[in-house]
Symmetry: C2
Subunit: 347 residues, 2 copies
C-alpha cells in the first residue's frame, strides 16, 4: 500500500508528521508494508511552483492508495481579497479532480473531554454524530466573478439530481449501520438547490424504510446542534452548509483539534483534520496532532479496510486522554503542567 503525505500549510506540517509516525508504528506492529511519498499543495506549492495544486502532486495523488492531508491557507491571501492565485484553489481542485464528493466528519466526544467543551456536559454526554458533507458541488464550484466594472460580485450555486442522490445514498447506508436516523439539512424555504435536495432525499427515502428521515432548515439545525446534539445521528447536507455546521459541531467534541475527516468518492481517498492551517499557532509546537492521528485511523479503516488497526489508534488516543495528558487546546485549569503535551510528545 502506498500512502501520499500532503502536509500543506501552517500547522498542517507539524500535525501530519505525527499522523505519519503513527501510521509507521501501526505498520510495524501489525506487520504491514506501507510506502510513503510527499507532495506540495496550497501556499507551500505556490511558493515553490506558482501553482496551488501542481500537476505532479495531482498525479502522485491519483497513483497512491490513500492521501494523508494536512491543511491549506495563509493570512497573506485572506487579507488580500483581490489575489488571483490562492491556496484554497489547490484544495478545491484536488476535491474536484479526485471526485471526492463525500466528506465524512464524525463528531464524537471522548468521555475524558466532557469538560473541555463550552457546552454543558449533561447536554453533550453520549453525543455521536456523523456528518456527510457534499464536497464537489454547490456554490463552491459554480461560476463566480465580477460584473459592472467590478462593482457587482456573483457566485452561482448549483446541484444536479445525480449529485444529491449519490451523497444521500451514502448517508442512508451509514445510518443503517448506526442509530437509523438521518437528518437532511437544507434551506428549502428559500433556495431552489435546496428544494431539489429535499425532493431527491424524499424520493429515495422509501428505499430505506428502516431509516427515519427528518428535514431541517439550516438555521434551525445550527441552533439545535448546540441545544440538543444527541438528537442527531447521521446528518447529510450541501457543501457550504456542511462547512459551517461541522466547524460549529466541533465544539461538541471539545476542540476542533480532535476532529478527523475522510473525503471519498471516485478515486483515492483523502484523510485530513477538519481544523485549518492555524497560522497563529504555527511553529509553536502547541498544535493538537490528534485530528491527524485520528485521520490516519480513518484512512486505515476506510481505504485499507484495516478495522483492527484503526481501533488500536482510537484506543491509544483514549488511553492517552485517560492518563490525563492534554494538548493546550483541551487542557483546563486542573491539568498539571507535566501532563501538558506539545505536538511531538502527543504523538
Amino acid at each position: 500500500k502506498h500512502i501520499l503525505v500532503v502536509p500543506g500549510d501552517g500547522i498542517g506540517q507539524e500535525v501530519t508528521a505525527v499522523g505519519k509516525k503513527v501510521l509507521e508504528r501501526i505498520a510495524s506492529k501489525f506487520g504491514h508494508e506501507f510506502t510513503y511519498d510527499e507532495a506540495l499543495i496550497g501556499h507551500a506549492a505556490i511558493e515553490a511552483t506558482g501553482n496551488p495544486l501542481p500537476e505532479e502532486t495531482l498525479a502522485k495523488m491519483k497513483a497512491s492508495d490513500a492521501v494523508l492531508f494536512g491543511a491549506v491557507g495563509h493570512p497573506k491571501y485572506d487579507n488580500d481579497p483581490s489575489a488571483k492565485v490562492r491556496p484554497e484553489q489547490g484544495l478545491l481542485k484536488m476535491r474536484k479532480e479526485l471526485g471526492l464528493y463525500a466528506n465524512l466528519r464524525p463528531i464524537k466526544l471522548f468521555d475524558e473531554l466532557l469538560g473541555a467543551s463550552s457546552i454543558k456536559p449533561e447536554i453533550l454526554k453520549g453525543s455521536d454524530i456523523l456528518f456527510f458533507r457534499e464536497l464537489t458541488g454547490d456554490i463552491y464550484f459554480g461560476e463566480k466573478g465580477r460584473k459592472n466594472d467590478g462593482d457587482t460580485a456573483y457566485d452561482l450555486a448549483e446541484y444536479s439530481r445525480f449529485e444529491v442522490e449519490r451523497i444521500a445514498r451514502k448517508a442512508f447506508e451509514a445510518a443503517r449501520t448506526r442509530r437509523k436516523k438521518l437528518c437532511s439539512v437544507d434551506k428549502a424555504n428559500v433556495l431552489e438547490t435546496s428544494r431539489l435536495w429535499r425532493e431527491v432525499v424524499q424520493k429515495i427515502a422509501p428505499e430505506y424504510p428502516d431509516v427515519e428521515v427528518e428535514h431541517q432548515f439550516v438555521d434551525a439545525a445550527a441552533m439545535m446542534l448546540i441545544k440538543d446534539p444527541r438528537r442527531f445521528d447521521v446528518v447529510v447536507t450541501a457543501n457550504l452548509f456542511g462547512d459551517i455546521l461541522t466547524d460549529e459541531a466541533s465544539q461538541i467534541a471539545g476542540s476542533m483539534g480532535m476532529l478527523a475527516s475522510a473525503s471519498v468518492g471516485d478515486s483515492t481517498g483523502v484523510y485530513e483534520p477538519i481544523h485549518g492551517s492555524a497560522h497563529d499557532i504555527t511553529g509553536k509546537g502547541v498544535a493538537n496532532p490528534l485530528a491527524s492521528v485520528l485521520s490516519a485511523a480513518l484512512l486505515l479503516d476506510i481505504s485499507f479496510g484495516l478495522k483492527e488497526e484503526a481501533d488500536t489508534i482510537i484506543a491509544a488516543v483514549d488511553q492517552l486522554l485517560k492518563d490525563g495528558f492534554r494538548t493546550r487546546d483541551i487542557a483546563d485549569a486542573t491539568t498539571p503542567a507535566d501532563k501538558i503535551l506539545n505536538t511531538e510528545t502527543a504523538g
Copy 2:
C-alpha cells in the same frame, strides 16, 4: 403614530397579540396616542387571497410608521418542495419592497437566564452581541430556477459594492456606540461575493479609526460564537450567513423565544421575533411572547425614538424573570409549577 400589526402564521398570532398589548399599555402609561391596524401575510394571506403578500398589506405597511410583525411559514409547503406559491415569498417581498436592508439582532442574555442555555454559564456571562444581517441581497434574491429538464437547480448569490457599504456603515456606527469592535464574517477564501464584501469593509474601515475590525470566515465564526461568545461586540454579515449565525447565537440568550429583531432601511421599520412560526407548539398557549414584547421595545426605540418607553419594557421583562416567572422554553427543573406562565399571562 400609526402601527401596523402583521401576526402572520403559527405562533406569530399568539405572540404578536401580547406584543401589541404591551404597546397599548405603554401608550396609556406615557400618554401617547398610537393607532393600530392589522394585515395578512404568509400562509394566512395565501389562504385568504392566494397571494403571500397582498397589495393591500404592502400599501398599509408603507403608510404606517412601524410594523409589528409575527412570523411566516407552514409545514404544508416545507414538505412539498415543488409548491409554486410559498409563505416565505411574502416575507422576502416585504423586505425587498420596503428596502429593509439592515436586520439588527441583539443577542443579550438576561442574567436570570444564565442557567437556561446549553452553554456553560461561565462562558456566557456578560455576552452582548449585536448582529447586522444584510437582508435584501445575496442568494436570497438572485435568479433561481431549474435547467436540464428540472434535473439541475441553481441559485445566484450577488452583492454590489453599494449594498455592502450601506450595511457595513450601519455596523461601524453601532460599534462606535458600544465596545468599538466589529467582526465582519464572510467566506472570502472561496466566494467572490465575500471577497467584494471584505474589500468594501477594508476600504471604509479607515474612516472609523476608533473601531477595531476583524474578519472571520463563517465556519470559524460559527465555532467561535459558542466557544467564546464574549469576544464579539458587533458582527456584520451577509444575508444567508446572518440567518444561520443568529439562530445559532440564540442559544447564547438561553432561548430563541427571547430574541427580537429590527429590520430597517429606506422606509417603514419592521419589528419581529427571530423565532419562526413554530407550528409544533401553535395554539397550545406555551409560546414565549417575550421576543414579540422585546420587538415592541425595539420599535419604540428605533422607529419612534422613545428610549425611556423601550427601557421600561426591558426593565419589566427583567423584573418578571427576577420574580422567577418562566415560560416553558426557559423553565428548568427548579421552576415551581405556579411560576410557569402561558403565552397570555406572560404578557
